[in-house]
């Protein structure tokens, strides 16, 4: 009898854990979307696909190198912090890379590789934007036609994590752009 109760408790614990994981993930990213700081980032996407999550456009950010701040020791395969800033045109760029968590301002946890002497090549973690199956190829084509000129992603950033909020071509969101006649 005692065994049965224990087993039931175990079963419920496992079930709660299984449900809690997607819930926690959803909360964590939703929180960033709601309260994170918004950045506009120039992109150049292509269209691959993921067997479990569907089609996406893969985002390639134009600004992907930055100076290393405070002579930090950037060894490859280590997570470091990319400090994010905005230029005069309101577009985001990586203003520096450091091994220590910045006390203030926006920053993202990234993988970085040392390049030249005091520059680092940064791999930003938000490189995908999932799209409805039938729209992904059209989105890629739309981006190719407007390459570099008007491809912009808005990213919400908070506590070292970032979420892609929306993709824009010109002043329209990607979905609006695709639906227009």
């Amino acid at each position: 009898m005692k065994n049965k109760v224990l087993l039931l408790a175990l079963f419920i614990a496992v079930a709660i854990l299984q449900a809690a994981m997607p819930l926690y993930m959803a909360w964590r990213w939703e929180n960033i979307l709601q309260t994170g700081r918004q950045f506009y980032w120039q992109t150049a996407p292509i269209d691959p696909y993921d067997a479990f999550k569907g089609r996406y456009v893969s985002l390639r950010f134009k600004e992907n190198t930055a100076p290393i701040i405070d002579n930090a020791d950037i060894a490859s395969e280590r997570m470091v912090y990319a400090v994010i800033a905005e230029n005069d045109a309101g577009q985001a760029y990586i203003s520096g890379v450091t091994a220590n968590r910045p006390a203030q301002g926006a920053y993202v946890k990234v993988k970085a590789y040392r390049q030249f002497n005091d520059n680092a090549y940064v791999i930003l973690p938000f490189t995908r934007y999932y799209l409805p199956e039938d729209m992904a190829p059209a989105a890629e084509a739309a981006y190719r036609d407007n390459a570099g000129k008007a491809g912009v992603a808005t990213i919400r950033i908070k506590d070292g994590y970032g979420v892609v909020e929306q993709l824009y071509i010109g002043d329209k969101t990607l979905l609006e752009f695709l639906r227009q006649p």
């Binding site: 496992v14 449900a19 819930l23 990213w29 993921d50 999550k53 089609r55 999932y130 409805p132 979420v163």
Partner: protein, 431 residues
Amino acid sequence: MDKKAVAWLYRQLPVLVAKEIITAESAERLKQHYGPVEGSTGTKTFLLVFGVIGALLIGLGIILILAHNWEQLTRLNRLIISLGLLVLTQIISGWVRWYKRDSVIWREAAATLQLLMIGAALALVGQTYHLVEDIDSFLLVWMLLSLPLIYLLNSGAAAVLYIIGITNWAAGGYFDVSKQFVWVLLGSIGPYYYGLLKNNRYTNTFAILSWVLLICFYICFNAAFSNHLERLSFLIYSALFALTYLAGKLWFAGQEQSGRLPFTAVGVAGSLIITFILTFNHVWHYFIDRDRYPVTDGAYGLVLVLLVLVTAGIVKLAKERQDWRFALLPYVIALAYIVQSFDSSQLSAPVIMNGCMLGLSISIITAGVRRCRIGVVNLGMVLIAALIMARFFDVDVSFIVRGVVFVLIGIGFLVANVVLVRRKAGWHSEK
């Protein structure tokens, strides 16, 4: 207890009674001792396989439908859908666990479906927030959350999917130190596998799980260590395959169904492939050259440990009076490595391996002839044919040397043939 063996015994009992080898009373007591055998296991297997495949297809189908990425759905709707499906399968699993626990079919199907719905829920959240594999470590989280299902529902299907999942995780992408965690993940299947080994070693589940586990072990090993073994990798793999072979011979041989288990087959196949690769001159030149690839102490240590284990296995096999010669292959390869590092011409090692492979093929053919097993004879033939083909097209060796060696070996075969025929004739006339 092997159910098929019991069924066979029950079929024999009337015959034994009729021949008065045992009394009718003894036969009855035997039946009481072993208990009833369930009839028509074939139908049950079919139901089980269809149940699991059905659950698998439904689960994968749901994942695909969600992967379409419905733009009508808000973020909240997506979350409700993914959690709803998950909770539904959890309820099904709970019901099966308490009210249908004796039904293998229900347990396997429910576990399969729930495992896939965990993946679907995680994938849908990942899709909603545009997560990249790197930061949500999708497969790893999925498999960790699925691990309890194997034990709670006692499910072989979940175990197989789990092993395939963690192998994909380990082998996919860039392998850094954190992926050595795969050994903990593989090890966590241990108690379940051991339980099967103890209680159900004659089942299909055990055979299938063994195949998957063994193949995935090699894939994980390759993913985890291939960058650190350097030029010793061939030796290490040959020792691993020899150990696999020994395990099959020591622990799983002699049973009615040992042929269904993977150990001997994988051990033999792997060993033969490694031997064949090492007969190539340029493999030694490009991959095993001493000066080009220095070896770490760890790799030497691993070789030592594996060779000690192989020796222990050989000793044990010899004590049981079984044929242990095949397991000597790692030693031959080790010898070739040692010779290679002293030989400046770099030719002795390939010569040793060619001789080894030739000898191996001939002994396989002889063994096949002796036991009248045409399959074994053919295996030996294929090996010799592969060896001949490879050497014929070897550009490293001069035409004259190749030609002379071919002619000599050919003469050797013909002489052996004549001798065999004469001996056989003599044997017949003596009779």
